[in-house]
Amino acid sequence: MTREVSGDMTKSNLFSKIKDFIHSDAFIFLLPAIILIIVFYLIPIVVSVYMSFTPLKNWNIARYIHEFVGFENYWRFFYMVTHDPTVRPIFITTVVFILVTLAINVLGGLGLAIATFFMGEREASSTQLLWLLPRMTPIAVYSMIWYYFFHGSAIGTLNSILMSLGIIHKPIDWGQSIIPWGPWMIIIFVNGLVGVSYGMIVFTSAISNIPKELVIAARVDGASNWSITKNILIPLLKWHIVYVTTWQMLSLLTTYDHIFLLVEWGLVNRYYGTTWALYIYNMAFTAAEKDLGLAAAAGVILVIVGALLGLLALKILGFEKMVKEPRGDI
């Protein structure tokens, strides 16, 4: 009896809260964001989960939308992962790739934002623009540039420079012969350069919002650039560091476009140049039949892994502590 009453109360409480919220200014304020999140985040997840239980192939939605295969796609995915002899190097490569590239992206972005903060306006703009170039360049063109730069024969720019300087006497096949460091170095370098600009933009924008008085006061007190960075800028960028780290980590977990081309063109070793996302892509899309059901199942698993890693990152970076309401400020 008590439970029923309590249930009804909860229900009516919930609906009245929804009603209150819908009639509030906060709802109108948040509506665009809510719509975007639903359309671009929640619906794709729901559709992916749905697809993962169908035999969807070759984008033939009308044909396969009504068919259900239960957990078969998940079974196929785990079967491949547990039986494939090349999974181990791919797994290790993914871990190394994410950790090292993430460090480059976050620390590089932070370093650049801080460095440009201490530069004159013109120098800062030019430097930022330069670092944005990798992101602005079309993926195929950008990958092609590094393909020729690291090419393992005498046509490779790096080999040709080193040979003309007399440092090496014959070309080195960077991505194929120095296993695993060569392919790791190339995929991390190529992706790292692209990712740095993202952190740089976020940190630059955050630094520009730091009250100038703090820096001026520090300068008046004779603080060095390093001291200003350590004691003012970095502590005030804590939120942004957490955000960029988490975002970039998830982004690296799912990225494969540049790597796909470098592997496909034979620049890097197929196993130590392939990350998890590319492995999944190859698994589902190498055949003439595009196995979207399998890809969706693998995608759902990737979302779960990503969510867990995201939560872990927030935990490690002390997100909970940061969002806690300050004690005694009301």
């Binding site: 919930l14 809260k17 929804i18 209150d20 919220f21 509030s24 200014d25 906060a26 709802f27 809510i34 639903i38 359309v39 929640l42 619906i43 729901v46 559709v47 749905y50 192939k57 070759n58 984008w59 033939n60 939605i61 009308a62 044909r63 939308i65 196929r76 079967y79 491949m80 039986h83 494939d84 002899p85 090349t86 090419h151 393992g152 024969s153 046509i155 096949d173 194929q176 012969s177 496909e264 063109w265 034979g266 620049l267 197929r270 698994m283 190498t286 055949a287 003439a288 039949e289 595009k290 196995d291």
Partner: protein, 554 residues
């Protein structure tokens, strides 16, 4: 503050779920409803097999239904010289428009085109866009895609149309029509085909004292095998005539190397079971041959990642290898792309037809077994018609069949002898019809083409005139005539949806062998492991034979 806290987590989730259900249900209703409304069939014209009569009747029927313009699109891809894969349709539309004009039919076909370098991209875009109604009406692409496109219902079954056009069908070489079939039905019209000759540098051979006289005949009869070619390559290397004995193409799924499997008596497909075949013995022998070449410095260890434009072609055209496993289209590509470094100027330029003729000897791919004839491999291109062809045109529900008939006749027209012959002469692909093969031998017509005097849509002529100027000449015509015999020795790769996966494993394993990361036996076992690790592949591939214990090469 009160309102900000008004929405609990549960409430947020409820709102999100309601919106998602609404959108998903709407999309579901749209798709289901669309399926129902697109099944109304009304107007069509019975085909008689008389092209002019049929096209006039279709034109009149369209005019009666108020159609003034029919929009069609064609997509294809390939090397830069093979643009007739799209312009063939433009030309066909031009010719049909003229027929309609002469018969006072006020209907016009307008064609939009898309041509890219990689035909696989065209295929992927086609399947991505088919459900959205954005796939082209006609696609010229490799016959290997027929299986997956036909099984999804993405392309039209042409059998009923061809039943009325038997004389048209009979113009094509029968093996090519077989390649267009899936489950006994014809889903494509052959657009072009090719052979993959083994090119041998005459100057390099002469330098090493190798006699090319009668070589093609010996390979044809199985008297000259890969063991002999290995010995020749070794001689070339030892005598310093060229740094390499053999160069081939790179990357995954290239059918050139699959010829090794056939050369060693292996097979890739079992007609009875409809399964792919992994023939361990034949693949092992292929890997051993390539490894032996690589171990003796006759073939680069990193061959599978060589760069096309900067390494592979320059090495071949500059005479730095004895042999090259290529295709007929390379003969023409070398005349249009600047791969050759002129010894006098040091500048890169295309070869002239005379130079290509002077430098290269061509023959079938040698057998691996003494007494077994040499072979080649073809991957014919097919015109495929979208099962929703004409969808972007007025009154589609009512005129669907009429549009399909029209598109079929456009493809019939695009197979006119001169269109097929022009494509062959400028791209180095072999003609798919006997009438086109005859036309290529007609010196008067070839001269007219060379002088740009042939009757073509001005737009088409303008787009291909540069290629015509560079490629149409008696030496190239002679080349095409000389290689046509290879079609009698041709083989095909399987038309199985899982085949690209298997081909990709071959390329991957071969790369490991050439780089000394795996022995040939390890590579074969690696492929077996990879097949067994993929449930779809495992289901589709029959693994036969064993790694031979006492087999040696050469």
């Amino acid at each position: 503050m009160k309102y900000c806290r008004a929405l609990s987590k549960t409430a947020g989730i409820v709102i999100a779920i309601i919106i998602i259900i609404g959108i998903v249900a709407g999309a579901y209703y749209y798709i289901s409803h669309k399926q129902i409304t697109t099944t109304k069939l009304i107007t069509f014209v019975p085909l008689t097999g008389d092209f002019n009569k049929d096209i006039i009747n279709i034109g009149k029927a369209l005019e009666q239904d108020g159609v003034k313009t029919v929009q069609l699109s064609v997509w294809s891809g390939g090397d830069p010289n093979s643009v007739m894969r799209i312009y063939g349709v433009v030309e066909a539309a031009y010719r049909i428009n003229n027929i309609w004009k002469q018969n006072n039919i006020n209907v016009e076909i307008k064609v939009t085109t898309r041509y890219v370098s990689n035909p696989n991209d065209v295929y992927e875009d086609y399947i991505n866009k088919w459900s959205l109604g954005q796939a082209p009406d006609i696609m010229a692409n490799g016959y290997t895609y027929i299986a997956s496109l036909a099984s999804e219902g993405y392309i039209l079954d042409l059998t009923p149309y061809l039943n009325n056009y038997t004389s048209f069908l009979n113009q094509f070489y029968p093996t090519l029509i077989d390649a267009m079939k899936w489950n006994g039905r014809i889903y494509g019209i052959p657009q072009d085909t090719e052979a993959r000759p083994l090119y041998i540098r005459k100057d390099v051979a002469a330098c090493a004292g190798l006699d090319l006289a009668g070589l093609a005949e010996k390979i044809k009869n199985g008297q000259f095998t890969w063991s002999d070619l290995y010995k020749w390559a070794l001689k070339v290397k030892e005598s310093g005539c060229a740094p390499w004995g053999l160069i081939h193409r790179k990357g995954s799924a290239h059918p050139d190397l699959i010829q090794f499997i056939y050369a060693f008596g292996g097979k890739l497909y079992d007609e009875k079971t409809g399964k792919l075949v992994f023939d361990k013995a034949a693949v092992y022998k292929w890997f051993v041959v390539e490894k032996t070449f690589a171990d003796h410095g006759l073939l680069p260890h990193d061959m599978m990642s060589w760069d096309w434009a900067k390494q592979i072609h320059p090495t071949v055209v500059d005479g730095k290898t004895l042999a090259f496993i290529g295709g007929t289209w390379h003969w023409f590509e070398w005349q249009t792309k600047a791969y050759y470094t002129d010894p006098k100027t040091g500048q890169q330029r295309p070869l002239t037809a005379e130079e290509v003729h002077k430098f290269f000897y061509y023959t079938l791919f040698p057998s691996g077994i003494k007494g077994k004839p040499g072979l080649t491999l073809s991957q014919p291109f097919a015109w495929m018609i979208n099962s929703k062809a004409g969808e972007q045109n007025p009154n589609y529900d009512k005129l669907k069949d009429l549009y399909h008939e029209l598109v079929f006749l456009v493809v019939v027209k695009a197979s006119d002898p001169d269109i097929v012959a022009i494509h062959s002469l400028i791209s180095g692909h072999l003609p798919v019809t006997k009438t086109a093969a005859e036309l290529i031998k007609n010196q008067t017509w070839v001269n007219e083409l060379k002088n740009l005097k042939v009757k073509l849509d001005p737009e088409v002529l303008n787009n291909i005139k540069n290629i015509i100027e560079k490629t149409v000449n008696p030496l190239n015509v002679q080349f095409l005539a000389n290689v046509t015999y290879m079609l009698e020795y041709t083989t095909f790769t399987p038309k199985h949806p899982q085949y690209p996966k298997l081909a990709s494993l071959f390329a991957d394993a071969l790369d490991q062998v050439l780089r000394d990361k795996m022995t040939p036996a390890q590579a074969v076992n690696y492929i077996v492991e990879k097949i067994n690790a993929d449930p779809d592949l495992k289901k589709s591939v029959e693994i036969i034979g064993e790694i031979p214990q006492n087999w040696t090469f050469p």
